[in-house]
C-alpha cells in the first residue's frame, strides 16, 4: 500500500542528545579516522574549538534515534522490510563539540509515488544549547511496493 501523502509535514517531538567525548572518539574510530580534532585531547584543547569536536557525519548518531520512531510509527505504517536508504544529504553550520546538548526536530518533507516504489524524505534540523543551528540532515528512503 502506498505511503499516504497526507503525512507530508508530520513532525515528531524534539529529541535531546548530550554529546559524550568518548562516544565521539568511538564513532571516529568506527570510520577509521585519524583526525586529531576528534581523537587527540591535547591537540583538540589547543585548536580553535578548545575541545574534541565530532566528525561531521556524527550527525547520524543522533539522527538514528530520530529515525527509529518514524520506522515504528503506526499511523505512517512504513513497510520497513521493503525499505532502503536511497539518498543522504547533510549541511553543517556549527561544529558539534563534546559536552554539547543538541535539540533535533524531524519532519516529513516529501512523499512521492512512483510506479514500483514510494520515496519518503525526512528532514532533521538540529540546534545546540546556544540555539545555534548545528546541522540539517535529509534522509531519503525508498519503499518498494
Amino acid at each position: 500500500m502506498a505511503v499516504d501523502k497526507k503525512f507530508v509535514g508530520k513532525t515528531w517531538p524534539t529529541m535531546v542528545y548530550e554529546v559524550g567525548k568518548e562516544k565521539v572518539k568511538e564513532f571516529a574510530k568506527a570510520i577509521k579516522s585519524n583526525n586529531p580534532y576528534y581523537l587527540n585531547d591535547e591537540f583538540a584543547s589547543q585548536s580553535k574549538y578548545k575541545t574534541i569536536v565530532a566528525p561531521p557525519t556524527f550527525a547520524v548518531v543522533f539522527g538514528a534515534k530520530l529515525i527509529e520512531p518514524i520506522f515504528m510509527d503506526k499511523e505512517l505504517n512504513l513497510n520497513v522490510a521493503m525499505l532502503v536508504h536511497g539518498e543522504q544529504e547533510f549541511e553543517f553550520y556549527t561544529m558539534v563539540k563534546a559536552g554539547d546538548i543538541l535539540y533535533s526536530n524531524t519532519r516529513i518533507i516529501g512523499i512521492e509515488h512512483k510506479e514500483k516504489l514510494d520515496v519518503v524524505a525526512i528532514e532533521i534540523m538540529t540546534k545546540n544549547q546556544y540555539n545555534q543551528d548545528v546541522s540539517k540532515g535529509i534522509y531519503t528512503f525508498v519503499v518498494r511496493k
Binding site: 577509521k32 561531521p56 543522504q88 547533510f90 553543517f92
Partner: protein, 136 residues
C-alpha cells in the same frame, strides 16, 4: 602540530584520494558507534536469506569514510559545509573502496568537490556525491 593538518587554500583542479578495505568486523564497529544494528549489516546468514549474499556495510558508514577523506584532506573538519550522495551499490565485507575527490569549482570562499566512490570492480557504490568546503 597544527600546521601538519591544515590545508591553507583550495583551488579548482585540486584532488585527493583515500582507500578503505572493509575488514570483517567493520559493520559491527559501525553498528556499535552509530546505533544501526539492522541485521542485514551484522548477520551474514540474515543477509544471505534476504538475497544480499551476506552482510553488507551500512551505507552511512561509506558516506562516513567519504566525509572523513574530505576532512583528512582539508584538516579542520569545520570547513566541510555540505555533503550528499545516492547509495547505489551495496558494499560487502572484504570489498576495497576507493574515494577520489576533485575540486570542480571555487566561488568566493566555497569550493565544490565532486567525489567518486568505487569498489574494487570499478562499480560506483555511491553516486551523485558532492561536497562543499570552505576554501581558506
Amino acid at each position: 602540530m597544527k600546521a601538519m593538518y591544515e590545508k591553507n587554500s583550495i583551488d579548482a583542479g585540486d584532488t585527493f584520494n583515500a582507500q578503505q578495505k572493509i575488514d570483517k568486523y567493520r559493520a559491527i564497529y559501525y553498528a556499535g558507534a552509530s546505533g544501526d544494528f539492522n541485521p542485514i549489516h551484522i548477520d551474514a546468514e540474515f543477509g544471505k536469506m534476504v538475497g544480499l549474499g551476506g552482510a553488507i556495510l551500512q551505507g552511512l558508514c561509506t558516506l562516513g569514510f567519504t566525509a572523513d577523506a574530505v576532512t583528512t584532506w582539508i584538516g579542520d573538519p569545520g570547513r566541510l559545509k555540505k555533503i550528499k550522495c545516492r547509495f547505489s551499490l551495496p558494499v560487502k565485507i572484504g570489498d576495497t573502496i576507493t574515494i577520489e575527490g576533485l575540486v570542480t569549482e571555487v566561488h568566493e570562499d566555497t569550493g565544490t568537490v565532486v567525489i567518486k566512490v568505487i569498489n574494487q570492480n570499478g562499480g560506483d557504490v555511491l553516486t551523485n556525491v558532492q561536497a562543499e568546503v570552505v576554501t581558506k
